[in-house]
């Protein structure tokens, strides 16, 4: 049974949850807005082209630092591949972009704990290299 009292309590609890997150959320968005525009520049400055594994590690680090919709990583990765970057490095880039979140980490840690957030993201980083390798190997079988 929904009563006015329940509704009021629910509104207060939900508002508090959002309000607590808001400062971190805005800070994270401001930080990522500064970093995201530099990523294509970093890519075009010749940081890549050093072999599959090294390229994958570099792109995975860049992808980990990025924050934004996955569609942006698809577009960038597509352009990278067209520019001659290997499929494994490109896949590591997309994998890291979508699975590792360095920039959102403070917000995640605030809600779920630093230990959880660090462990989860560290595993995701290692897995994105494995993901890239397995994807390429599977496609070439």
């Amino acid at each position: 049974m929904i009563t006015a009292q329940n509704l009021q309590a629910s509104l207060r609890k939900s508002s508090l949850a959002i309000w607590r997150l808001l400062p971190v959320l805005l800070a994270v968005l401001l930080l990522s807005s500064l970093i995201v525009p530099s990523i294509p520049v970093l890519i075009h400055q010749g940081f890549l082209g050093k072999g599959d594994l090294l390229d994958s590690l570099i792109t995975a680090v860049i992808g980990s630092l990025a924050a934004g919709q996955p569609i942006i990583s698809y577009l960038l990765a597509g352009e990278l591949q067209r520019a001659g970057i290997g499929l494994m490095a490109v896949t590591a880039f997309v994998g890291a972009w979508v699975t590792v979140g360095i920039i959102p980490m403070p917000a995640e840690a605030m809600v779920l704990g630093w230990r959880f957030s660090l462990i989860r993201n560290a595993i995701s980083f290692v897995l994105c290299i494995a993901l890239a390798w397995l994807t390429v190997v599977t496609l070439h079988v």
Binding site: A9, S14, I18, L29, L30, S32, S33, L34, E108, S124
Partner: protein, 167 residues
């Protein structure tokens, strides 16, 4: 953060402006999703026991059903991750397993509405293989995260860790 923007503006005003417009774009994208999550939070708080039920499905002993809910939920969830944190925090405080939280967050990497773009750039086979590995790895990521999280902790400590993953 404003100081950082100020410093960047001194070095390169165009870059700072680009940052500001990126920020505005991100906020615009985030607001509808945040609103949706706010409404969901109200709904979840309003309907008594729904969180307990969800937590029951994803709590200790939830088994395969819990994994299924976490992964399918992750794949189907949309909007920026920030918008989901309050809800995940609530579910965690209701007893959602860390393994399932991690699996949910990993499975969120699959964005169904955006997959056509991936197909466009990399082909259907690549997209299918990549997405399937994401699903498989979300299980592994969840399992391993929980294992590492609870290293050196007693069963009692695991049980009282509700409400925060760093008891």
């Amino acid at each position: 953060m404003c100081v950082a923007y100020g410093l960047v503006a001194i070095v390169d005003i165009n870059y700072a402006q680009k940052g500001v417009s990126t920020f505005i774009g991100m906020v615009k994208t985030l607001l509808p999703a945040l609103l949706l999550v706010f409404l969901l939070l109200i709904l979840f708080n309003l309907i008594q026991n729904i969180q307990s039920r969800l937590a029951g499905v994803t709590g200790a002993g939830s088994g395969i059903k819990g994994w299924w809910v976490a992964i399918v939920g992750g794949v189907l969830s949309h909007g920026p991750i920030y918008a989901w944190y309050p809800l995940l925090g609530e579910l965690r405080s209701q007893g959602m397993r860390p393994a399932l939280l991690a699996a949910f967050l990993y499975a969120r990497s699959i964005k169904l509405p955006f997959l056509p773009v991936m197909v466009h750039y990399f082909g259907l086979a690549y997209t299918v293989v990549f997405s399937l590995y994401i699903v498989l790895f979300s299980l592994f990521n969840g399992w391993l995260t929980e294992r590492l999280l609870y290293i050196g902790k007693t069963d009692d400590a695991k049980n009282v860790s509700k409400g925060g993953l760093t008891p």
